[in-house]
């Protein structure tokens, strides 16, 4: 089983390398992270936090948008592309389980994402430490951001595979992926914000909001990193909510979502008839 998964992963990694996905993902993360590191340099004095902690807070906001986007861009074609190229029927006559095929793709795509995340955050951290040697205090927060970003990526990779299986056609899968990204990463928060304003601190804000935040992998990721770093002061947005939700709850959401998404992907892929 391991051999089949690794062979699939090696093949997918090679394809991504030749399709320039490795280069694109890494370059995108590095550029955005460095821009944030440079832009986030100004308010350091007022907050009293070290430079890196501030950068981590900014990077968290970046990761919430960019990591799901990259993950969906890499995964939407995974099944639909095979269907369109006509490579799926032959593959499925091989003694390889569908879950193994997905696992192989996941290993490759996750490795690329981890590479991009490490390169991007690493560059930003290097810049921060270079200008402020006290920044080494923020290294644990950076490490936490790295692995939780990778898990966030895994969640959206799994979601992308599921959409790819449901859509069957790459164009349809791309549409669904963009829709999912807009929905979960952008509109979800806007809707919550609107409800908070309408509610005016009532039952919704105290009862429903924490659950709603944990139920969205992107929000759970943001909560987890902000509350763990205790750097809420440096961040805007859901910072206030972060204080009311225990750390273990957001951590659990960050850990469970990738498994749920992958389970969903496997279930959807099993329904595909070549």
């Amino acid at each position: 089983m391991i051999r089949r998964i690794l062979s699939t992963a090696a093949l997918e990694f090679r394809i991504a390398l030749r399709n320039r996905w490795v280069a694109i993902a890494t370059a995108l993360m590095v550029v955005f992270a460095l821009v944030l590191a440079a832009a986030g340099a100004a308010p350091t004095g007022d907050i009293g936090a070290d430079r890196l902690s501030v950068v981590v807070a900014s990077l968290t906001s970046l990761a919430v948008y960019l990591v799901p986007l990259l993950a969906l861009l890499m995964s939407f074609d995974a099944i639909a592309g095979e269907v369109e190229r006509g490579t799926l029927p032959l593959l499925l006559t091989y003694p390889v389980a569908r879950a193994e095929v997905l696992a192989g793709k996941l290993v490759a795509h996750l490795a690329i994402l981890a590479l991009a995340v490490c390169a991007g955050y690493g560059a930003a951290a290097a810049a921060a430490v270079w200008t402020d040697p006290a920044s080494t205090a923020g290294l644990p927060a950076l490490w936490r951001l790295m692995w939780s970003s990778t898990l966030l990526g895994a969640t959206f990779l799994g979601a992308g595979y599921a959409l790819s299986s449901v859509a069957r056609r790459p164009s349809g899968a791309a549409g669904l992926a963009v829709g999912l990204w807009l929905g979960l990463v952008v509109l979800y928060d806007l809707a919550l914000l609107a409800l908070i304003v309408a509610d005016g601190g009532g039952g919704f804000t105290t009862q429903v909001l924490p659950v709603a935040l944990l139920a969205n992998p992107a929000d759970a990721f943001r909560l987890f990193n902000l509350s763990a770093a205790q750097a809420t002061a440096a961040a805007a947005g859901v910072g206030g909510a972060a204080a009311t939700i225990p750390l273990w709850q957001s951590a659990l959401s960050v850990l469970l979502w990738p498994l749920a998404a992958l389970g969903l992907a496997i279930a959807a892929f099993r329904k595909v008839t070549p």
Binding site: T8, L11, R85, G86
Partner: protein, 299 residues
């Protein structure tokens, strides 16, 4: 176990339309069987059912003693899809190495397989740069992995030139001699004529005929054609002597007769002496036999 593939009363419907209707088939080790039929006759559907890619509605299918698509069946079955396709960014060698790994074989054997199908020189080029025939060879190379007991080949020679076609059938002969059962589909009877032990003609989901080519030829009992060329100036006399003949534009006379009347007719024409310049006997072509069976079942 004697039979590699057993299909009995297989029925498959797509939205109420019967794609396959009570098809039965038995394939033993070393047998080469050709599945013929028009587009949409049910050939690919039948193959996909044998491979376990799509479910079926009624009947029974056993592949190497196991259910189609089960792990045990997939270990022993090789498939070549119609228009074999691969990821264009990979090289032929990389693709075959992956398939070897999936079957639990050493990826180092990739070059050897590509050599067997005459693709060694292009092995390190991306499949995106391959011609259709070359892609078909990659597909063929992957069917040679392991020791498949059943090969399911969907239009395997489409896109191959005549020489490659001959090489391909030579490869199949070798596999069959080692005990592999082979089921291949084709549009053309001419192509599979000498290379298969049995021919199945599928028409609108039904098995219209099966047997050896000689069987089919005998059962079809199609008329034999004769072309008589009259000697100089003997045309009117000849036409009178052979009243059933149809004159053709080039001055020759065309006749048709049943198989068992052929010799008698030949003797009569020979008896016409020097009024006849030449005589050609045209047996029913393979295409005629094929359309005879596929048309009859379609009615």
């Amino acid at each position: 176990m004697t039979s590699t593939l057993t299909i009995s009363r297989l029925t498959k419907r797509f939205q109420g339309v019967e794609a396959l209707d009570q098809v039965s088939l038995d394939l033993g080790p070393g047998m080469r069987v050709a599945l013929l039929g028009h587009n949409g006759a049910g050939k690919s559907t039948m193959m996909k059912i044998i491979l376990g890619l799509i479910p079926f509605d009624a009947g029974e299918v056993r592949v190497c003693g196991a259910a189609p698509g089960s792990g045990q069946a997939r270990m022993q079955v090789a498939y070549l899809p119609e228009n074999a396709a691969f990821h264009p960014a990979l090289t032929g060698e990389e693709q075959i190495r992956h398939y070897l790994s999936l079957r639990g074989e050493s990826p180092r054997r990739a070059m050897e397989l590509l050599e067997r199908v005459g693709l060694a020189k292009a092995a390190r080029r991306r499949i995106g740069t391959y011609s259709k025939g070359m892609r078909q060879r990659v597909g063929l190379a992957q069917t040679l992995i392991g020791r498949p007991r059943l090969l399911v080949l969907d239009e395997p020679t489409s896109g191959l030139d005549p020489v490659s076609r001959r090489d391909f059938y030579a490869l199949l002969d070798g596999l069959a001699a080692e005990g592999a059962a082979i089921l291949l589909s084709s549009h053309a009877l001419t192509e599979v004529e000498a290379r298969t032990d049995r021919i199945l003609i599928l028409s609108q989901g039904r098995l219209a005929a099966q047997g050896t080519l000689a069987d089919l030829r005998r059962r079809a009992a199609l008329p034999v054609g004769l072309t008589v060329t009259p000697a100089q100036g003997a045309a009117p006399a000849l036409a009178q002597a052979l009243p059933q003949a149809r004159p053709a534009g080039d001055g020759t006379l065309h006749l048709a007769c049943a198989q068992d009347e052929k010799l008698g007719l030949l003797a009569r024409i020979a008896g016409l002496g020097d009024r006849v310049a030449d005589l050609d006997v045209i047996p029913p072509s393979l295409e005629d036999i094929y359309s005879h069976f596929s048309r009859r079942a379609g009615q």
